[in-house]
């Protein structure tokens, strides 16, 4: 159990404090409820590019002062952007925590970006895309899979964005985006570690209290329904071994079926005793690796399967064998013991995400920021425990069909 206090400022900034004195450290985690799904087509990648710009100076901490002051205080900082959120964090010795309030409040209201820094960070982000996506074997697979599963919802494009869209973005977009999404009423602050609720209140009021809210963010999205066809594509890539990627549209992380789907993915591929590893990797030598996952998103995400075939193995055969495991569960279900095993693995994994101030702040901020429910971290284990063998069988027969899925094959270029 994680215990915490929480309060809101008049301007709508929500603050959660999880005090623990284990180490003289505090993680300061400021999450804005904006991600790549808030972008418009033609401007993909902008939420993430904007995250980079937040490190490039504000009125009272211009230039590189943000990093320099934090480093001088013995602090570390970074940020990340997902489809749903952008999270900025500092980890500081507790006696220096006021600095994080000063710096984060300054860039919430007084960001100051020049054309030069904008162009520089646009280059950096394009290199980030090359390094993580374009220059990696199978690096484009997840974005291609999403673009097959979704045709309407903005989850169809990648967080990192497309290069031509990034090149089309301008400094004017920066200003618009900033005013639309970066305000106290669209943000949640989580403090984890050696800080009291009283001090958190004092500093939050002092540094964020005077900012005006900017009103509700327009959150209208077009959703995709169930897939009613099979969408297939073959990609010839710079890879040595063929691989398949398969996606099914499923549910959001707040849907009652989310935990059953997550546990189904674990039954298939979590650990050396999982069904995929035992059958496809170890006993029958069809796959070099094979995995299943349920995406954790605010809106309905993808349940995915992927496998890399061993040399000389038919990719179609591997794909069919992997899917047959889901069909077998839909037909015959799973044993109580197998479900108990993956529940125990999930409990251990929840516990490991609560260790360390940075980890726990990040974990809490997701639920506090997206759903105004930080206590969700304490409800995860009871919710996992409630899943029954019937639930597993039911989701296996509900969400998976050969005529409602996307399938990608990655083949070595020399086969083209």
């Amino acid at each position: 159990m994680i215990e915490f206090g929480q309060f809101s400022l008049d301007n709508g900034l929500k603050v959660v404090v999880a005090e623990n004195k284990r180490a003289p450290l505090v993680a300061f985690d400021l999450m804005y409820h904006v991600g790549s799904k808030n972008e418009d087509w033609g401007k993909t990648g902008f939420a993430h590019l904007f995250e980079h710009l937040m490190f490039e100076g504000s009125r009272h901490a211009p230039g590189k002062l943000f990093d320099e002051l934090l480093q001088n205080a013995g602090g570390e900082n970074n940020a990340y952007t997902s489809e749903d959120l952008t999270n900025y964090y500092e980890i500081l010795p507790s006696h220096e925590i006021e600095l994080a309030f000063w710096l984060e409040s300054d860039r919430m209201r007084f960001l100051n970006i020049s054309q030069d820094t904008f162009l520089n960070q646009r280059d950096v982000v394009i290199e980030e895309r090359r390094q993580r996506v374009d220059n990696q074997p199978y690096g484009t697979a997840m974005e291609k899979l999403a673009s097959l599963v979704y045709t309407q919802h903005p989850y169809r494009w990648p967080v990192i964005g497309y290069v031509d869209h990034l090149m089309d973005s301008t400094l004017e977009d920066v200003s618009q985006f900033y005013h639309r999404f970066y305000s106290p009423d669209n943000a949640t602050l989580v403090l984890s570690g050696d800080i009291s609720l009283g001090l958190a209140k004092e500093y939050s009021e002092k540094y964020f209290g005077e900012f005006k809210p900017s009103g509700p963010v327009d959150r209208k999205f077009q959703f995709d329904g169930k897939l009613t066809e099979e969408r297939r594509e073959t990609v010839f890539d710079s890879v040595q071994l063929p691989a398949f990627f398969m996606g099914f549209p499923t549910v959001s992380e707040t849907d009652p079926d989310y935990f059953a789907l997550d546990l189904l993915a674990d039954i298939l591929s979590n650990g050396k005793s999982s069904r995929f590893y035992q059958d496809l990797v170890y006993s029958n030598g069809l796959a070099q690796s094979v995995s299943a996952f349920q995406e954790q998103n605010e809106h309905p995400g993808i349940f995915g399967l992927y496998g890399i075939a061993k040399p000389g193995i038919s990719l179609k055969n591997l794909e069919d064998r992997a899917f047959a495991h889901i069909e077998a569960i839909a037909e015959k279900g799973v044993s109580e013991a197998e479900l108990e095993k993956v529940k125990n693995l999930s409990v251990s994994s929840v516990i490991s995400r609560l260790q360390g101030v940075a980890n726990s702040a990040d974990f809490i901020s997701r639920y506090a920021g997206l759903y105004q429910n930080p206590d969700f971290v304490n409800q995860l284990i009871p919710l996992l425990e409630k899943v029954t063998v019937n639930d597993i069988q039911r989701v296996a027969s509900t969400y998976f069909s050969k005529s409602g899925r996307a399938v990608l094959h990655y083949l070595p270029k020399q086969n083209a």
Binding site: R22, G74, E76, E127, N135, Q240, S273, K310, P311, N359
Partner: protein, 451 residues
């Protein structure tokens, strides 16, 4: 409302002193050291066994130590690996093993109510490993395929060729997981011999962390481990680093690459080097943190890369120094020029006093966050034991770093950086980059067949 003066940078309060967490330590009669870190925050436990036999023992058969180590968690004389995996995973745990260059480790975790059985499985695995034919050939085959797949990663290729250039004829020359030649040769017999020669209780360390009580767990450790007898063995000599040709310019060609993976590299230092505090500060200034000279130049000024880092590898026997980055093809030559320039700059200029104090404060201030979780603490204690440091080591290192002067930084750069003799390795599209590299010497292409 208390309105802030935003022109006033907040001053920190008085820091708490750094205190390395306490642990309890015991030595069994066979020489095995046992460390217990009790922590009841969460109902979990893990055991980590460290054996001072790393990849450096791979004489003649690359990957043998690592394969031997990994096999320890894949079956005993009486239990199949699959059965052990199913059992430990049903306890919410993990069981795996492997090796680094200086040591091997076996790790097992579980929800704490299963701790006795987890300990028993660990003990049986290290004392009576199965080394079955099927497991040996399965793992060798997995590794052969991984090698094949790695050929499409420019960063892997750059690291691979760097080791070939820096360490010819030395165990560090080869991937720690083995080569396509060695992996086809290793038999269960080879593994058994290697295991009985190097995997001994003497010098080994068992770290227990989590929701347990020494009164309860220590007698069980005695029961399972005290009779693990050391076999007589002769320590073998580790060869010194080879003499190599300096200034080699080597390309690993990947014709469809859209970025070049660059390594500017030379031989490095041992983890036990007495100048380590100054070297840490010097390397941090050069390329060890976000605000480093290299990152500010190549990323924040030029926009060539997502990031660049420099590092000294930490090994018992001297490893290497390297600057590593990925840049778009067209700026490969210019990026290398900047890297060499910054290395030379460190050797010819005293660091700015404000920047130096900033880096010292950064390193000292972030110290506690390296020792926060059980995982980090166990890694730190393993390092103390492996490299023969006393328990004050980390406290002392932090104090030494806080006092490093500009002169010491300059001395460390002159003594331990070697830009004039460094080798330059680039994995990328040769057609685009070869001409750019000619200003540094005569680039040669590395023959990648047979990896």
């Amino acid at each position: 409302m208390n309105t802030p003066d935003r022109n006033q940078i907040p001053k920190g309060k008085t820091p708490d002193p750094f205190v390395f967490p306490q642990w309890q330590e015991y030595t069994l009669i066979n020489g095995l050291t046992v460390v217990i870190l009790e922590d009841h925050t969460f109902p979990t436990i893990n055991f980590r066994l460290m054996v001072p036999a790393g990849g450096i023992r791979d004489f003649g058969i690359p990957g043998l130590t690592s394969l031997t180590a990994e096999l320890i968690s894949r079956g005993t004389v009486t239990l199949e690996g699959s059965a052990i995996a199913a059992e430990i995973e049903s306890y919410g745990g993990r069981f795996f093993s492997g090796c680094q260059w200086d040591a091997s480790f076996v790790f097992i975790s579980s929800l704490s109510r299963y701790q006795s059985r987890a300990l028993e499985l660990l003990a049986e695995s290290i004392r009576q490993p199965g080394f079955r034919e099927k497991e040996v050939s399965f793992l060798a085959d997995q590794r052969l395929n991984n090698l094949k797949m790695n050929r499409d990663s420019t960063s892997w290729l750059a690291g691979y060729v760097s080791n070939k250039v820096l360490f010819p004829g030395h165990p560090f020359e080869n991937p720690i997981n083995g080569t396509s030649e060695s992996l086809t040769k290793i038999s269960p017999g080879t593994v058994r011999n290697h295991f009985s020669r190097w995997f001994q209780p003497t010098g080994s360390l068992l770290i227990v962390m989590g929701d347990t009580h020494p009164d309860k767990i220590l007698p069980q450790i005695e029961t399972h481990f005290a009779s693990w007898c050391p076999e007589p063995w002769e320590p073998h000599q580790i060869p010194p680093l080879p003499l190599i040709r300096h200034n080699q310019i080597v390309i690993a060609d990947k014709p469809d690459a859209v970025q070049s993976s660059i390594r500017v590299t030379h031989h490095g230092i041992s983890r036990k080097n007495p100048d380590l505090p100054a070297i840490i500060v010097m390397n941090t200034l050069l390329g060890g943190y976000f605000g480093s000279r290299l990152n500010l130049k190549l990323r924040e000024e030029k926009g060539f890369t997502y990031g660049v880092r420099s590092a000294f590898s930490e090994r018992l026997f001297a490893g290497f120094f390297t600057v590593a980055t990925d840049v778009r093809n067209s700026v490969t030559g210019e990026a290398i020029r900047e890297i060499v320039h910054e290395m030379k700059y460190m050797q010819t200029h005293l660091p700015d006093s404000k920047v130096l104090s900033n880096v010292r404060n950064f390193l000292v201030g972030r110290f506690p966050s390296d020792f926060e979780t059980n995982e980090q603490l166990s890694q730190a204690i393993m390092d103390l034991k492996l490299y023969g440091f006393d328990e004050q080591y980390f406290t002392r290192l932090r104090n030494q770093i806080s006092r490093i002067t500009a002169d010491q930084v300059l001395d460390a750069a002159r003594k331990y950086l070697n830009p004039d003799q460094a080798c330059i390795i680039v994995a990328g599209k040769a057609d685009d980059i070869e001409a750019q590299l000619s200003e540094f010497g005569n680039p040669v292409q590395y023959d990648l067949t047979g990896i």
